[in-house]
């Protein structure tokens, strides 16, 4: 295993909306197999950072490198490596579950698409609802299909933006299983969350983002959950 290989790197990321800077010279480097939980209060810049990392929006300054390649040059090639679970489902209401996944599968150029879709739907317990319109899905089923969409193209780097918020218990179980499978295969992930327990348990590395800056960054092994909780409270209340 190439432990020192940098899979993802954010270099001096600044993001301004109007005159206010949401991210202020943010640096983060992830090695293969790392799973980073980013904690922070509302407005800390967590979602903005993930959207920049996933190339949905561009930074005002700074660079994102995926496998050492600047995404400004790598663009569409780098996007194939990235998966993203956000607050929105990214699903079309007037298409069936299968049609939605087929659409994204074709965009990602997935070969053997039908069996991949069946496998993904099965892994979230929706194979028997594959031909149903997404507009007929319950909230929990939508969340499970969102998880299937994100893992469909077998990304190497996964960004999860508050993935457990509003998730029902069934969907949480499916997501937990997929996340564990994901980083057991030596892949890399960034999770943002308010939930200290959940974020701590899943991570290999802990980051606290506050006012657009990284104010704490350490391996999970170097700090206990209680000490981390105290550190988080101290940073947020300072």
């Amino acid at each position: 295993m190439s432990e020192t290989k940098s899979v993802f790197e954010a270099q001096n990321i600044v993001k301004r909306f109007g005159r206010s800077a949401v991210l202020k010279k943010l640096n983060l480097r992830l090695k293969q197999g790392e799973f980073v939980s980013i904690f922070g209060p509302n407005g800390a810049g967590k979602t903005t950072f993930l959207k920049i990392s996933a190339m949905i929006i561009s930074p005002s300054e700074g660079n994102i490198l995926v496998f050492g390649e600047n995404i400004k040059n790598a663009g569409d090639l780098a996007r194939v490596e990235i998966g993203f679970i956000a607050h929105d489902t990214f699903l079309y209401r007037n298409l069936t579950a299968r049609e939605n996944l087929k659409f994204y599968g074709n965009i990602y150029g997935i070969e053997d698409i039908d069996s991949t879709i069946n496998h993904c739907l099965e892994s979230v317990g929706l194979l028997n609802r594959a031909e149903d319109l997404v507009s007929k899905f319950s909230r929990g089923m939508l969340q499970r299909l969102t998880i299937a969409r994100a893992f469909l193209h077998d990304p190497t780097i996964m960004f999860l933006d508050e993935p457990y918020t509003g998730l029902d218990s069934t969907a949480s179980v499916f997501l937990n299983e997929l996340i564990h499978k994901f980083y057991n295969t030596d892949k890399t992930g960034i999770l943002t969350t308010h939930n200290l327990d959940q974020g701590y348990d899943l991570a290999t590395r802990l980051v606290i983002l506050n006012n657009g800056r990284i104010e704490f960054d350490a391996d999970k092994d170097s700090i206990s959950k209680n000490d981390f909780r105290d550190k988080y409270t101290e940073i947020i209340s300072s």
Partner: protein, 225 residues
């Protein structure tokens, strides 16, 4: 090759969703046909008046129904954050534009054909040249209108006043299309104008090429902003 397959995927997705809901084409047809029916009660055109008035009436119905359709063009992309899903995926931004342009053109052309059928029936319009030329004119005019409409629809889709903003941006930019389409239609109905049918249709073609090229180049920046 994947570029074309990505374009086809977006078009297929749009067509499947439209066949299921019929919301865009339904709204365009209802609006366009209402205009034609109202005009048919207001004007009783003889052959000479037909040459003068019919092209303007017909393209008015086409243009306003098309604007209504373009208003819906990016709505589905912004529901559930689907546009973010597209931006996240490895599809070039230009492919998104070209796919939406083709989808829009297909929907607008379909509704124009139905509106044209009603117009010809209600006004008893006679083309002096082969009607195939009018189909060519419709295709060139529709592509020109969609070329700018698609990009302005992307700009206005997330604004609160999109129904107002889209025509505000779109109509001034497509004045050359409207003039060329109306003049060329007049020629097809037997009216003599300063320029030939070929000159007007060439003007439409040049407009289409310029605006599609510009839009392809600018679409990435527009999505980003």
């Amino acid at each position: 090759m994947i570029y074309i397959s990505q374009i086809v995927s977006v078009i297929r997705k749009d067509i499947i969703a439209e066949l299921r809901t019929k919301s865009t084409i339904g709204a365009m047809l209802l609006f366009g046909l209402t205009i034609v029916v109202v005009f048919s009660f207001s004007f009783n055109l003889d052959l000479q008046e037909q040459k003068n008035l019919a092209p303007g009436l017909l393209w008015t119905a086409f243009i306003f129904s098309a604007i209504l359709g373009l208003n819906y063009s990016f709505s589905s992309e912004y529901e559930n954050g689907c546009m973010q899903g597209l931006l996240l995926s490895p599809i070039p931004r230009s492919a998104i534009y070209i796919a939406k342009l083709i989808s829009n053109s297909i929907f607008i052309l379909f509704s124009e054909l139905v509106i044209l059928g009603f117009f010809v029936w209600l006004f008893d319009v006679r083309f002096t040249m082969n009607w195939h030329w009018f189909v060519l004119l419709m295709v060139l005019g529709t592509i020109g209108f969609s070329a700018t409409g698609t990009i302005f629809s992307a700009i206005s889709a997330e604004t609160r006043m999109k129904v107002f903003i889209l025509p505000l941006l779109q109509l001034p930019m497509t004045i050359p299309v409207m003039i060329a389409a109306v003049e060329a239609t007049s020629i097809l109905l037997g009216k003599e104008t300063k320029f030939t049918f070929d000159a007007w249709s060439t003007m439409l073609l040049v407009y289409d090429v310029i605006f599609i090229t510009l839009s392809v180049m600018l679409f990435e920046y527009i999505l980003e902003e």
